[in-house]
Symmetry: C2
Subunit: 313 residues, 2 copies
């Protein structure tokens, strides 16, 4: 392994796939370059966009906020961050504290909203209701559905034109495999750095870190001197995603580039299928009126399954 970066500085990170030794500066620059290239190539933002960052306080969202705040300084792009407090005592407080610090450091306008205010229940209370009704919580699906729904409602309320999320290469490769193993061809076609176009009531979500491996994002956040939020949510269950994470890590170790290949295939398919997907119906939930490809949106499905109220944002 070379001990020095091309620029002569000592090696900080060895990128196995390309065989590059990178100093701290060249490493962080390369991460930012990848994100900016993605933004440019995929046309994720226009100068008139008002971008809402989904800032959980985890490493991916910290990297995203740090990189996008450069965009703000360079181009004057309007940017603000939203943190959602799902309400899990002894776990979520640390993430929220970190999110607050990140927003302060980056001088980002920052809002925090709670599940309790939006839905009338914390995630803990929702899990307790599910348990009392004998409903098996599958992985983190409830929480994910309710969080995505709240993010869209907040983006509408706060006048955002794009929602940026910190999904990384690993997340995207995992999601492709999950959709594949479940036979969900529609979701495969809808993936992409900018998966869905704006439609009435729906703010497009963009993923500028989609081509950056999870590990490199963690190293980037560490290099930039941020706290890393290490605890795991007590509601996380062993899920198909965990199995697939392990599988992909094994494949990547033996065949470097596998995760990239999967995401590249996903991109090519989305591009080729774009017309078919765009021409497919985007309807409105018959209960709450939110845009959905289903008759009843997933959030309302959760509410009715649990017998609780609906979004009050």
């Amino acid at each position: 392994m070379p001990a020095e970066c091309r620029c002569g500085r000592p090696c900080f990170y060895f990128r196995r796939q390309s065989g590059e030794a990178l100093c701290k500066r060249c490493f962080t620059k390369s991460i930012e370059r990848t994100a900016f290239k993605t933004i440019k190539r995929e046309g994720l933002f226009t100068r008139d966009d008002r971008i809402m960052i989904a800032l959980s306080g985890g490493k991916d969202s910290i990297a995203l906020a740090h990189i996008l705040s450069k965009l703000e300084r360079r181009y004057g792009t309007e940017l603000f961050a939203v943190t959602i407090d799902e309400g899990v005592q002894g776990y979520r407080e640390e993430g929220i504290r970190i999110a607050n610090e990140v927003a302060r450091r980056l001088e980002l306008q920052h809002y925090t909203f709670t599940f309790k205010d939006a839905y009338g229940y914390t995630l803990e209370e929702i899990c307790a209701i599910a348990k009392s009704k004998g409903i098996q919580l599958l992985g983190c699906s409830f929480c994910g559905i309710l969080r995505r729904r709240l993010l869209n409602d907040l983006a509408l309320k706060l006048g955002a034109t794009k929602v940026a999320t910190g999904h990384n290469l690993d997340d995207e490769a995992q999601t492709f495999l999950i959709n594949l193993f479940r036979g969900d061809v529609e979701r495969i076609g809808r993936a992409g750095a900018m998966p869905l176009v704006a439609r009435e009531g729906f703010i497009p979500r963009v993923k500028p870190l989609r081509y950056i491996p999870e590990k490199e994002i963690a190293v980037y956040v560490y290099a930039k001197g941020y706290d890393l939020y290490q605890r795991e949510c007590p509601y996380v269950r062993a899920s198909l995603r965990d199995e697939i994470r392990d599988l992909l890590n094994r494949l990547e170790a033996d065949h470097p580039g596998t995760k990239n290949s999967i995401v590249n295939v996903s991109d090519s398919l989305s591009e080729m299928l774009e017309e078919k997907i765009l021409s497919s119906k985007m309807e409105h939930c018959s209960i709450c009126g939110a845009p959905s490809s289903r008759k009843i949106c997933r959030a309302c499905e959760v509410f009715s399954l649990l017998g609780i109220g609906k979004s009050a944002v």
Copy 2:
């Protein structure tokens, strides 16, 4: 587990995915029904077809020959079988003996051709040349390329209008994942029960067993009283396909239906991408003139890599 089939006969096979207990008769009927449904739904054959069965002597090709010979008896479809002797002493003879017996039992016209006659070298000699030149044989790729090429040449020579192969559900799900992990979106789009249409010099290959799990094919062949060819080719190397086979078997055990989901996604994608793929170039190899999507076909690539002569069929 129920001890009896719905028809009252004793259980011969328990199909885990559907929870069905099946007697021998209902099991074999269900396998044949799946193959016939595939043939009908995908329009694999017309009554005027002259079908060449690629009969290696392995379980998949035995099941294929047995099932297609029913088609011959019912509809008078023209059918014949071809066995390719790649030339691997102490291994291939058993498969060829079984292929001969199968053809005799099913009263199929049967031809055997050798790599030696077609290419001037047995697979053993080709492997020795590769070894002497320090060329790493990747899995079974050389053998596969040369076999597929010879099958097409023989189909042309013997006046076949379709080549039927015994690819099963496991093969197809594995191939999808291999193409995905390699980022080969073109091959993903070209998969399907009838992956390629007829073009000048190219006889379409069809896969009537594409939706039948490997395990059920083995049980079917056993139920029909055929010898199973158990030896493994000495040239088989631990390959990506082996890893993926294990992975899929683990996934299928934990999440029954995964292999089917993958093949269903593969089908939907092929269907949606059909126009794009059909409009893509099918050129001719600049060395041998055979149809190929590449400037130099894979067979000629192998020949020139090894410095040996080309197909003489």
